[in-house]
């Protein structure tokens, strides 16, 4: 059968992957798909669920892409499967199927101990679970997790992040008993206890004790201990959700799960099961990668293919509570006669074990705790010879780099998406020249991301040079150029290009160097040679418009302005016939000024106390604010005061790209701080700092970086963040992309600017202090200097003649450029605003 109705039960990770895979293969749309989802939101990334506590929201975790011919029915769980009529029923309707796919996942197992149903006891599986935990934790102090496996430790970290004093109770004698061995578990425990998470190992929970109001108040342990706690998360394992299938009379595996063969087909040939709810030849898999493989198998079968499930790699690599842990292959050495090679470094807190075949020729598996950098290479080598001497693999920083190129063609490079080295090499041969292209073409690297370093190495191994050259004039990146300029004390472009580049420069490198010189405090941006490097916007300290005129944006810090100043802006706009608009940045933009009018306009503005708003520069733009505690009945801090102070502190700072900020006076977030490069939200006791947000082409919410900061600490962190960005980002890379591209991401940033891991903080602090004291208004300086003013003429030989090409028509009572709505030379068509007329 290759067409008809497919009904999918479950829109989790695997159900979604199945729909994507089927849509990709079924070009003729022979299958109509209905997805029945119990949860009220479309598929999201459960693997990254805990990121919710780091500030990720539903949208950040979203996995769902809409497809034509696919109907997604949210909040509508399947209740009955009628195999004889081939119909699935929900509370709202009945859905006939030709093929039915179970993708119902698992449910969290809650041991049947007394008190497990008390208020304050949670499981850890869905976004709703996490939201409920967060709400309940709000005014609680202690939390306990039952279960010390992967999930339990993630939950423990979540409770820590919520500010609870946390303990973990595990029945087995070590943490993560499934993945690591005794020595690895011991190393892990040291890390975990360092974070003030108490571990109770080798002991069962016998009961949960209620308070008088029926909420949980303590755990009773088998050794007689009693653990006071306000909140409990149960993470004691999962069980496949096979109840519907059982009722429908399908066979199940020995440990549950819909029994399927290697084509993922159940005992009813019209019914498949994939993901955690499936027992392939009797085995259930609790990881996403095998589930994805099953989804691909069924999609392939539905279009007439003959794929089978190849068995799965249950290797895992995680970062739990900041610790790298990896486990792969036969991690516990169950093969008869196998040999262990172990390495423990208590000082560096690293433990590693390799399991080798009895003749030491074949790698069977291993465990890594504390440093998992060798994981991608090792995992890919399981079943084959070791790519290097064991110790060299476990120690030594570039273990990975040295060996990625030596992997055999069949080695699986990306286990999440079952991509082999041969697949990668073929894609490279077909022209993929960077990681982004490899991701798009093979899907490798698109799930957990742990294979991305290997993709880079395979590109290197194939001889693909990944260029970092700025342009044809400089072979180095912006960051390297910055260091060259800084360290060698170079102050002119001509010296820089003579010593470190070639040719005469261009519209790419010149503004970059201009910005670097400005960031390092080399005087006014229009002085001497610097002027010739500037883009037209910086050259005229105004924004070029489509008709050759310019706009003027005075700074209005925090969006706060006096009536007198508003009146001046109105008068200037009127006297110079400027189009006037309130911007999205809480200030006012005056459009349609000719080059020769700019100094006259600014004379009036500067006299009234305005200064440049740097709307033209790759520099700080605005710090938006909400009205905050001064007026707002909800405000808990003075958001306007802080916004004004920050805008004045960072005004004029030149950067690789523009920088925006906002301050909200409470969690209602009226200033939209989380869409900014650095956003601040007031708390009862201080400020929360969010980093790396932006709007624009690829909107991104900023990540929570630090909480409840004093104003002083807040400012120090922002100082360092900005200066580190200025020094190390690429040309036109906003902070969001900069953090995303950073090795180690937010953790790395935290290490550098909070823990001073690179010993840079003092230098960054100094650099910002220099910026703050050396700031002076660019427009005021120009007005005071006849030399700089000279360039503001329309025609060098006829300064008294205004540019005749700039003419306006009137629209809604204001001047606008002639033909301003389209640019005919580029073939764009104007869109007429055909609004309906209302007649009475």
């Amino acid at each position: 059968m290759t067409g008809g109705n497919v009904v999918v039960i479950g829109n989790g990770m695997v159900g979604q992957r199945f729909v994507d895979a089927l849509r990709a293969r079924d070009a003729q749309r022979r299958w109509r798909v209905t997805v029945l989802a119990e949860e009220s939101r479309p598929a999201y990334d459960r693997v990254r669920l805990s990121a919710y506590f780091d500030g990720a929201d539903e949208q950040d975790l979203n996995l769902h892409t809409p497809h034509d011919g696919v109907e997604l029915r949210l909040g509508e769980p399947a209740t009955v499967v009628d195999r004889s009529r081939q119909v699935v029923t929900t509370t709202r309707g009945a859905y006939p199927y030709d093929v039915l796919v179970f993708a119902t996942g698992s449910y969290p197992f809650v041991p049947p101990v007394p008190g497990a149903d008390l208020t304050g006891v949670f499981v850890y599986r869905t976004l709703d679970d996490l939201a409920a935990i967060r709400r309940y934790a709000e005014d609680r102090r202690t939390g306990a997790v039952i279960g010390g496996g992967l999930l339990g430790l993630e939950a423990a970290n979540a409770l820590r992040l919520l500010g609870l004093t946390t303990s973990v109770v595990e029945f087995a004698p070590r943490l993560m008993p499934v993945q690591v061995d005794t020595a690895g578990g011991a190393m892990l425990r040291r890390y975990v206890e360092d974070l003030d998470v108490t571990c109770h190992l080798g002991v069962a929970t016998t009961a949960l004790r209620p308070d008088t109001d029926g909420s949980v108040t303590a755990l009773e342990l088998a050794d007689g201990a009693v653990l006071d706690t306000d909140l409990v998360v149960v993470a004691a394992g999962i069980r496949p959700r096979d109840d519907l299938a059982r009722v429908a009379g399908l066979d199940v595996g020995p440990r549950g799960g819909v029994l399927v063969d290697t084509t993922c087909r159940s005992t009813d040939e019209r019914i498949y099961a994939i993901g955690e709810c499936a027992a392939v030849d009797g085995t259930c898999y609790g990881l996403v990668a095998p589930g994805y493989a099953m989804a691909e198998v069924v999609a392939d079968r539905l279009v007439g293919g003959s794929a089978t499930f190849p068995g799965a790699d249950t290797a895992t690599k995680l970062k739990l509570l900041g610790v790298d842990v990896a486990s792969f292959g036969d991690a516990h050495g169950t093969e008869p006669g196998c040999l262990d090679v172990t390495w423990t470094d208590p000082a560096a807190r690293v433990y590693a074990k390799l399991v080798l075949s009895d003749d030491a020729s074949t790698l069977l598996g291993g465990v890594l705790v504390g440093d998992a950098s060798a994981y991608p290479t090792l995992r890919a080598s399981v079943g084959g010879p070791l790519p290097a001497a064991p110790l060299a693999l476990l120690v030594g920083d570039d273990a990975v780099g040295a060996t990625a190129g030596t992997l055999p063609a069949t080695a699986q490079v990306c286990s999440c998406n079952a991509v082999t080295r041969a697949d990668i090499d073929t894609a490279i041969a077909d022209g993929c020249a960077d990681v982004a292209a490899l991701k798009a073409c093979t899907r490798a690297g698109t799930s957990c991301g742990s294979c991305v370093p290997m993709l880079k190495q395979l590109l290197d191994a194939a001889g693909v040079v990944q260029s970092k050259a700025l342009c044809e004039h400089f072979d180095v990146s912006r960051q390297e150029l910055f260091d060259i300029v800084r360290v060698r004390g170079i102050r002119t472009f001509s010296r820089l290009i003579a010593e470190h580049g070639r040719g005469r420069g261009c519209d790419i490198c010149k503004p970059v160097v201009a910005s670097i010189l400005a960031s390092l405090g080399n005087g006014h941006i229009l002085d001497g040679e610097q002027a010739s490097l500037q883009d037209t916007n910086d050259h005229f300290l105004a924004n070029l418009q489509r008709d050759g005129s310019y706009s003027v944006v005075p700074r209005i810090p925090g969006g706060e302005i006096t009536p007198e100043k508003l009146i001046v802006i109105g008068e200037v706009a009127r006297d110079f016939n400027l189009y006037t608009k309130i911007t999205g940045g809480q200030r006012i933009d005056l459009f349609g000024a000719r080059v020769d009018q700019l100094p006259q306009i600014w004379r009036r503005l500067v006299d009234a106390g305005f200064e440049s708003g740097h709307a033209y520069g790759k520099a700080l733009r605005t710090v938006k604010s909400c009205v905050g505690s001064t007026w707002c009945r909800y405000g808990v801090q003075d958001s306007v005061g802080l916004a004004v102070a920050l805008e004045l502190r960072y005004r004029g700072l030149r950067a690789p790209h523009k920088i925006k900020s906002a301050v909200s006076g409470c969690a209602r977030e009226c200033a939209e701080a989380r869409s900014k490069d650095f956003g601040i939200i007031a708390t009862e006791t201080g400020w929360n700092l969010y980093l790396g947000g932006n709007g624009g082409f690829r909107p991104r919410h900023a990540d929570l970086f630090a909480t409840d900061l004093s104003t002083e600490t807040l400012v120090t962190l922002i100082d360092r963040f900005l200066m580190y960005y200025v020094r190390t980002a690429d040309r036109l890379q906003r902070t969001a992309a900069w953090i995303e591209a950073m090795d180690g991401g937010l953790d790395h940033l935290r290490a550098v600017i909070v823990d001073d891991s690179l010993g840079l903080c003092a230098e960054l602090d100094d650099a910002m202090a220099r910026h703050v004291v050396s700031y002076s208004d660019e427009w005021r300086d120009v007005l005071a200097d006849a030399d700089r003013l000279r360039r503001f003429t329309s025609f060098v030989n006829a300064p008294e003649i205004p540019d005749p090409s700039i003419t306006f028509v009137t629209e809604r009572g204001q001047p606008v450029p002639v033909g301003g709505h389209s640019s005919d030379t580029q073939g764009r068509q104007p869109v007429t605003l055909g609004l309906p007329e209302v007649r009475r």
Binding site: R504, C506, A798
Partner: protein
């Protein structure tokens, strides 16, 4: 009209009124001309950016591409050969070029009208 007609040399301004590697606009017999001072000498082309229709080329960034001296339109960054007026990014697009020289410390321009 196919032949280029050369008009008279017109004095524009003192040479030191021009900044190295930067342009200015001048009004020469009613035509807006962009004049550039570079290390290789003076160049003059129309100030009209043929792509956007705005008179802005004099405000672009001067540089080189390979051996070619260039200016980039400040609006949408197409790059032009200062010697020929040809656009290096869009085949078939070009701007009119004019002659420029320094004579007795003064910049002079002679318009060329190409048909």
């Amino acid at each position: 009209m196919t032949a280029a007609t050369a008009l008279d040399w017109v004095t524009v301004c003192p040479f030191d009124r021009l900044d190295p590697d930067r342009g200015v606009a001048a009004l020469v017999a009613g035509v807006q001309v962009a004049i550039f001072r570079t290390a290789d000498g003076l160049y003059a082309i129309d100030n009209l950016d043929p792509v956007s229709g705005a008179y802005v080329l004099s405000r672009g960034i001067v540089g080189s591409r390979g051996e070619v001296p260039t200016v980039a339109s400040p609006l949408h960054k197409q790059v032009y050969d200062l010697r020929t007026g040809d656009c290096l990014d869009l085949p078939g697009v070009c701007v009119a070029r004019h002659q420029a020289r320094c004579h007795n410390g003064m910049v002079e321009v002679r318009l060329r009208q190409e048909g």
